[in-house]
Subunit: 356 residues, 2 copies
């Protein structure tokens, strides 16, 4: 145990002078040497036991003695010290987005985290509000993650990737609609959501299809591929497509509904169920009949769509393969030279109800 004098912290000025190894309560922070002494084994043995190193044969009674000593002292291995010795950490860092994450995404995210933890990684999220590409990468690099997995609208720049790799990151994995240079890019095909909606509207006879484009920043990466998907489906049938920029507020929705007749649209893909609810209410208030004058389709298959009258048609989306992505991360860490693979992370199907 460290023999530095016990010192009670008494104010802000003392905090900076508090000796390393002292906990705030004045008790010294237990070290693996303390555990070794109490258990009567070497520090290496403590490390082998507590880090579950399978390669080293240690008897069960010894393992138990080490675990009991650690428990008694309240000793927890120090991830940073271990990573400094090993030259790399087991930390997977995930930048988190500015926009709130829906239930769809959070299930996938939980599965991914769970699978990474089973592979013995520590997963931390890093809120990147107010940090741009390179500054964000620098902040992440200070934590020396072994991998960075970016799933959201946080921009990862090629120079940021380079910086992370110089700081020891073995893999930078991006999941999104586009490839990002220098990373393992798992491309998620969001055009299929728009294609599902577009094919349904075309099959139903629509020839002039509006596509709601949210004006909220950060959503372009999700809305543009959907628009492209609708366009592809419409082109085959000779139907026209009109992008409809819309903010998620009542007034702009009412304004859009007010000029609906001059737009001459007979169908609309409303980005998601929440925008569909907003637009459908505005259309109904403006005397446009849904689905007779205009068919409306949302996406995400939220419960609220079933509570609307008419019941909302929607594209059901599943994020799949959290475990497969975790395995890709592990492979990319162990074999930094491997080429990115294609993964299906999205499954979708049209759910036809009453609004189309």
């Amino acid at each position: 145990m460290s023999q530095s004098p016990k010192q009670q912290s008494t104010g802000p000025s003392s905090a900076g002078r508090q000796p390393a190894g002292q906990s705030p309560a004045g008790r010294s922070v237990p070290t693996s040497a303390d555990v070794a002494r109490l258990a009567g084994v070497s520090r290496a043995t403590v490390s082998y036991v507590l880090n579950n190193t399978a390669a080293v044969r240690i008897s069960e009674p010894t393992r138990r003695r080490v675990r009991e000593a650690a428990e008694e002292l309240g000793y927890v291995p120090h991830a940073a010290a271990r990573s400094l010795r090993a030259g790399h950490s087991r930390m997977v860092l995930m930048p988190t987005a500015h926009v709130p994450i829906g239930p769809l995404y959070s299930r996938f995210f939980n599965e991914l985290q769970w699978a990474l933890r089973r592979l013995d990684y520590t997963v931390v999220q890093y809120g990147s509000v107010g940090l741009d590409g390179d500054a964000a990468a620098r902040a992440w690099a200070e934590l020396r993650p072994v991998a960075v997995v970016s799933l959201g609208p946080v921009e990862v720049t090629p120079s940021g990737v380079d910086l992370l790799k110089r700081a020891g990151a073995r893999a930078v994995i991006t999941v999104g609609p586009q490839r990002v240079e220098g990373t393992h890019s798992v491309v998620m095909d969001l055009t299929r959501v728009g294609r599902d909606a577009g094919e349904h509207l075309v099959a139903r006879g629509c020839r002039a299809i509006g596509v709601v484009m949210p004006e909220e920043p950060g959503l372009e990466m999700f809305s543009v591929p959907r628009l492209e998907g609708v366009r592809a489906a419409a082109a085959e049938a000779g139907a026209t497509v009109v992008p409809l920029p819309l903010a998620y507020e009542e007034e702009p929705a009412a304004a859009l509904a007010g000029r609906w007749r001059e737009l001459g649209l007979d169908g609309v893909f409303a980005y998601n169920d929440e925008y569909a609810m907003l637009l459908m209410r505005a259309l109904q208030d403006a005397g446009i009949a849904v689905p007779d004058d205009t068919a409306v389709v949302g996406s995400d298959d939220l419960l609220l769509g079933r509570l609307l009258r008419p019941r909302l048609s929607t594209v059901h989306i599943d994020m799949i393969g959290g475990r497969a992505l975790a395995e890709l991360v592990d492979r990319a860490v162990r074999e930094p030279g491997t080429r990115p693979e294609r993964h299906e992370l999205l499954d979708s199907r049209m759910v036809v109800r009453e609004s189309s």
Copy 2:
């Protein structure tokens, strides 16, 4: 620069043997010694400049030389190495919840993160799915955070707090409806949301008030205080209160609406706007007139409430004081002995529309 031979990683077996200080691409990871050599200064000077140590006078040309050398080499300070030297980290760890976080909460969370970053802390979130109290605390402790701030339904146990403090955490701060032993507990008064709704319903003449209690796990800590708030408001007026357990699905809502007349309720506080939408649809489908037979009040003031017919009355909630909480965290880190303070983190007001 490290003179270890450059070694290209070729497969999984090589990963474990890769020498410390080698990046995966075979370039060595730049160290502060490399920066010092290139800038022609001491390692201490590099550290002072890059960690913005104000106490040490270093000329602006020298600072610039150090920054340019760091930039050229792609050097980023190593947070863990720095914290090992200092004996404590600047990491504030925030356990994240299982349940998706709404827009209300995420604005507050962003403000808190931003303010902590301005105070020079590194904020990381730790997904705690599948970890219980003590195991979660052990996982957090491995990262040696200087503070843990728990804002959600992740259970923090007294033994977990003890473990974290032994691992050097100077402060464990919990924000929620209850105090947690051994922590700086910032108590958030959720009863006032229920009291606002209850007072409104009572003033409107309701004498038998239902309170929706979501059956989804993890929401009790939010729903029970709301129920208590309605009860307090009802007691003063001699009104009765009936808890109504409800899962967020159409069928149970229809079943509840089916026995509505025998319940004899003339008002209901529906937990939040989404449950209110679910219940109002079921009541309308069952021929119960809103608000004439039963008044309905939600909470959170989401846009969807304004899109319903009748428009939904609701309790508007603001999470406030992210910056104040950040300052509390900083004070608790600098003065671990300080007593927890009371902070107002919640502001609420009744918004009366057509449903009540």
